[in-house]
């Protein structure tokens, strides 16, 4: 009985196999493409999961991995650089084909990047680069971010705007490179515009309540302030609250930046909290990230031999140019992202 079932099963399997012999169309590249990606392993160490950027990227990464049959393993160090280095080392031991790192600062992962590449793993860095180049960088050029934000404030408050040029800078946590590099970009632009007077530069530590406190004090001292240069939507929601409370939303031009999440960006432009928002467009970054993964998996270069960068095109969102497609939601990215 048992052998007969086996034989039947074997014939059935054979029958199925002959049916599936009808090969899918191969344009000369597609078959190898799918074969090269299938079963591969990608490691991902974000700063922390549970916030809009990393959740968005991960949604895109997972969608594509599912579609193409490879695996993305996420290790969440929850904002802790040391835990991040450990997580990355753990992943290196598992020998993935590609390792994606999201550094908190430019030094912490220097050796990790080298170690991974030495053991034959291609490294992608996302949204902040370590000093050491990996195989690919995907993300914002923070210097460009600073210059663009400053140019926006110059356009709103500088020469030709008919305004007095009084501007305040509400910085983030000064020790973080994103704040430092952007700050340098801002300073370089403002230095070319002597009509802009920076009346205050204060750091709010990425904390909305601190940003509110600082801004309210600055507004009391400078009731004729023309604009505020912010740096991150989650912090500048506090800056905006102070401006709104002072009844100066029409007078003070607030420039900020972030990943372009609907609730963080577009909603706040619509209700007048932000006047200009430079988005690094997380869905676009997720797409770039996937592209970098696919390129590395197919070409399998000697790690570190041919580093390339995909700097994110920054997207300016204002009340005038905002459309339903300007921002994104995580649900949407989970559904169709990547």
């Amino acid at each position: 009985m048992k052998t007969r079932t086996l034989i039947v099963a074997a014939f059935a399997a054979l029958g199925l196999a002959t049916v599936s012999v009808a090969e899918p169309f191969d344009d000369g590249q597609s078959t190898t493409y799918y074969e090269q990606l299938k079963g591969k392993k990608v490691g991902f160490v974000p700063l922390s999961m549970g916030f809009d950027l990393t959740e968005g990227w991960n949604a895109g990464l997972q969608n594509q991995a599912n579609a193409l049959g490879y695996e993305v393993m996420v290790r969440d160090p929850n904002w802790n650089t040391e835990a991040g280095v450990q997580a990355a080392n753990g992943l290196i031991a598992e020998q993935p084909d590609v390792l994606i790192l999201h550094p908190l600062d430019m030094q912490a992962y220097n050796r990790t990047v080298q170690k991974a590449m030495k053991s034959g793993i291609n490294v992608i860095q996302i949204n902040l680069k370590s000093v050491t180049n990996g195989d690919a960088y995907v993300g914002t050029d923070w210097y460009e971010m600073g210059t663009k934000q400053a140019e926006a404030i110059v356009a709103a408050c500088g020469e030709g705007s008919g305004r007095n040029g009084k501007v305040a800078v509400v910085q983030g946590m000064l020790a973080t490179p994103t704040a430092q590099i952007s700050g340098q970009g801002m300073n370089d632009v403002l230095a070319q515009h002597p009509e802009i007077e920076v009346v205050a530069t204060q750091a709010a530590d990425w904390d909305a309540s601190k940003a509110q406190a600082i801004t309210s004090t600055i507004l009391k001292q400078n009731p004729d302030l023309c604009g505020v240069l912010g740096l991150w939507d989650g912090q500048d929601i506090g800056t905006a609250a102070a401006i709104r409370e002072a009844g100066m939303q029409d007078q003070v031009f607030l420039v900020t930046s972030g990943g372009g999440n609907q609730a963080a960006a577009c909603d706040n432009i619509q209700n007048g909290n932000f006047d200009a928002y430079f988005s690094y467009d997380v869905p676009g970054q997720a797409r770039d990230l996937n592209a970098a993964v696919k390129i590395l998996l197919q070409t399998q270069p000697e790690p570190g031999s041919a580093p390339f960068a995909l700097y994110t095109p920054l997207k300016l969102i204002t009340a005038d140019n905002m459309s339903p497609a300007s921002c994104w939601t995580l649900e949407e990215l989970k559904r169709i992202g990547g």
Partner: protein, 322 residues
């Protein structure tokens, strides 16, 4: 004469000196609106400080306070954003905080884990639990709704910013509570000497549990002010060093960590000093590091003067002082 100077008075004097100095030296400091915004900017710190003071007077400490504040209010916003009735969500958030307070209290009063360790661990548990099961995003935004509730942290009543009003109310209630209720008096007794309190017949353990429940509820009040002031709640605050700022305000005001002493007035004095300092330094546009140096030097000076004028001796020192 010099012995009359306890830490509260020293800090009060420093605050007055700074106040006069800034008033003369900084144009715009002494305007009514700047003074109000000065208080507004530290009112959240003050509300949290009053909660912390209740714990420290009872010879405890609550390091989980900021986590409780962040997670309960962020959870409330998540619920409201997904369509739950605001008042139900608020009730659940308060309920969550009460549970955290009870667990803290049970650990400290009955299991006899030192408060500093129990609440340190609890803060991490609360944040981890909240982020894993209750809240998906790190920043939760306020729903677009016109209920008066969303104006608790912004807007004014008779020219006084609402956060200042809330701070004043919490201070008033806490002061009356500590001075005139049975629990309030018990709290001092427990903080002063647990063993004596126990033989006197005071229900020491329930008092300790009540202490932490109260702190957790005050944390929710502070959280509501934070969220409605900046129209969002950033859960990353739980990972910040804010809880040390809160302890700083309490200790700076002169509430000793050895318990049994001090009151709401101390917290107000400590909060005002920090407020004046921050406001003045922002107006002067001092750099970040310079501000930190000034802050710590003034704290150190206050403690130094206190230690010199009121040295610790066998009578005032207690076993287990931090």
């Amino acid at each position: 004469m010099l012995k009359m100077l306890n830490q509260e008075r020293i800090v009060g004097a420093i605050a007055v000196v700074l106040f006069i100095g800034f008033s003369i030296g900084l144009s715009g400091f002494l305007s009514g609106s700047n003074i109000l915004s000065l208080i507004q900017n530290v009112s959240i710190l003050g509300i949290l400080g009053i909660g912390m003071a209740i714990g420290i007077i009872g010879r405890g400490i609550d390091l989980s306070m900021v986590s409780t504040m962040v997670i309960s209010v962020a959870w409330m916003l998540v619920m409201v954003n997904s369509g739950v009735n605001l008042w139900l969500a608020l009730g659940l958030a308060v309920g969550f905080a009460v549970v955290v307070g009870i667990v803290n209290g049970l650990l400290i009063a009955y299991v006899e884990v030192p408060a500093i360790f129990a609440t340190l661990a609890m803060g991490i548990v609360v944040y981890g639990f909240g982020k894993s099961f209750l809240i998906g995003q790190d920043v939760v935004y306020l729903p677009r709704d016109e209920s008066w509730f969303y104006h608790i942290g912004s807007g004014q009543i008779a020219g006084v910013p609402n956060p200042v009003v809330v701070f004043a109310l919490v201070a008033l209630v806490a002061a009356l509570f500590l001075k005139f209720t049975k629990f309030g008096r018990y709290n001092y007794a427990v903080g002063d000497n647990v063993a004596t309190a126990r033989i006197t017949g005071i229900p020491v353990r329930p008092v300790i549990v009540a202490q932490y429940v109260l702190i957790a509820v005050i944390a929710v009040v502070a959280g509501v002010v934070v969220a409605t002031a900046v129209t969002s709640m950033n859960t990353r605050l739980a990972l910040s060093t804010q809880v040390y700022d809160v302890i700083l305000v309490v200790v700076l005001g002169g509430i000793g960590l050895s318990g049994g002493k001090g009151g709401v007035r101390n917290v107000i004095v400590g909060t005002l000093l920090i407020g004046i300092l921050l406001n003045g330094m922002t107006i002067m546009n001092l750099g970040y590091t310079t501000q930190n140096i000034f802050k710590s030097v003034i704290l150190l000076a206050a403690i130094l003067i206190d230690t010199m004028l009121n040295p610790r001796d066998e009578q005032t020192a207690q076993h287990g002082d931090i």
